[in-house]
Subunit: 258 residues, 2 copies
DNA sequence: TCCCTTAATGGTCAGTACGACTATAAATAG
DNA sequence: CTATTTATAGTCGTACTGACCATTAAGGGA
């Protein structure tokens, strides 16, 4: 950082890319837009855009999130920086450094193209074809991060509406992790973690369909899980093919510690 | 990402900043350089520099790491992207977006100013005065991340020389976490985690000073800790002042989930 | 040399957490 | 009314952890 005035430097374009997830009907979905021009015309891509001169990357991300989802108030949504992608050739047109963000939406209103993006749509995360640019990797990295955070934070409630049942919360976990969980054990763990969820006092109950009605809960004040809620270790002998959008297992060229 | 050619955008300067840690004699130290010019002349700052037109941010970070430490080979060192700092006013001279990286050094050779930085030095992490720019926050964020990763990865061996004793490894944990750990329990946990460390076969023993000589170990092949090695929960009733360089408790403006 | 100190190593024991599982309750579909 | 479905409650054995105590193997000093 010494000597700005002495050294030449190349200015880069700086953008934000958004990996926006929601869970609908037990399916993990991502918000994607269809590209209309080259390069990658017709391919799906992550929503995003340039960082304006007077705003931070996070401000830009929140602005883009509001534009792409069409929601008037995104201030309560979970939005966190994922990481920055800066490979010199990641955009064939010019040098673009992109700060990627992960966002979670509880309910999933079909996005209306409020912003400049013509056709933003929710697509199921599994089976999303190859995306434009390096967006496959960004989306996979975001999914990995969300899955990891589910273990030691209360992040999962970010996928739930204001009031939810423990069954819904469990389904969020199962959807993101791609596993099944034992219902009584999951219940015991969640209720034993103080501050994770709190019961809705008015003995309210939700009648969704068949079966005994479930008690409703709200997200609690806690953000961390102590001890963590570890996902079941995958069978070590079975080299199961990775579920994900086609992309490779997201092996960063950086350190070996996820 | 639609319509590059239709929209105006402002180019930014893109830099990397390095939070480089080492543990020497039970003290966590950070690699810092002293600024010679305004702004923040005379203040300590993180090493860093511009990303060159043809390189990725990680390549730039590794190049800067080699320059600032004076080490000829930094390929084996732990280096991982931390996050990107992009507040519009973080540098008073111009708009600079900085991608921060965290690096760990096992041994700590006194850095020689091989690169352009005149006086790079190791300074103890605790009590480092206010740094230049937003580097206090970057360094605190890096420390938080390293501490968190110690819980569920084998990252701690990155602070150790190729062969080390379990006492040294424990001291690394205690130094980074700022806590004390029970020695037999730590030993039991580390040895029970397959792949964390492996004994040096030649019955080698290190005679450091008094006491029974300790067996030597090498870092194993594992990168993750299952189950994690959780740090002792801080006493919840005692609002102890945060240990760190002066900076505030690193409250990101983003999501509430660390 | 003998004893004390230091540090590594080995072990016990109880409380907690967790996985697997069974049982009961309360609703709907037929 | 009965079967099905889902929520909820509880049990039991194992694994893990924190708090200890004991032993071993070195060095230092009187």
């Amino acid at each position: 950082m010494e000597g700005y005035d002495k050294h030449a430097f190349e200015p880069f374009a700086v953008t934000v890319d958004l990996a926006v997830f929601t869970v609908r009907a037990g399916v993990l979905q991502a918000l994607l837009i269809e590209r209309g021009q080259e390069p990658y015309a017709g391919r799906w891509a992550l929503p995003g855009g340039f960082v304006l001169p007077a705003e931070s990357a996070e401000t830009a991300a929140r602005r883009e999130l509001a534009e792409e989802t069409g929601l008037s108030d995104v201030s309560g949504l979970y939005l966190e920086q994922l990481r920055t992608y800066s490979e010199p050739d990641r955009d064939p047109r010019m040098r673009v450094v992109s700060v990627a963000y992960t966002a979670l939406l509880p309910d999933a209103p079909e996005p209306r193209g409020g912003g400049d993006a013509a056709s933003a749509r929710w697509l199921p995360y599994d089976g999303v074809g190859p995306l434009a640019f390096d967006h496959d990797r960004i989306l996979a990295d975001a999914h990995d991060r969300v899955g990891a955070k589910f273990e030691y934070t209360c992040l999962a409630t970010g996928f739930c509406p204001p009031e939810f049942t423990l069954g819904e919360l469990q389904q969020v976990y199962e959807t993101v992790w791609g596993t099944t969980l034992d219902r009584p054990n999951f219940r015991r763990k969640v209720l034993a973690t103080s501050g994770f969820v709190e019961p809705v006092p008015g003995a309210a109950r939700l009648t969704g369909g068949r079966g005994k009605p479930a008690a409703l809960y709200r997200a609690g004040a806690a953000t961390a899980l102590h001890p963590p809620l570890l996902r079941p270790a995958p069978a070590p002998s079975q080299p199961s093919p990775s579920p994900s959008p086609s992309s490779a297992p997201s092996s960063s060229s950086e350190g070996r510690f996820s």
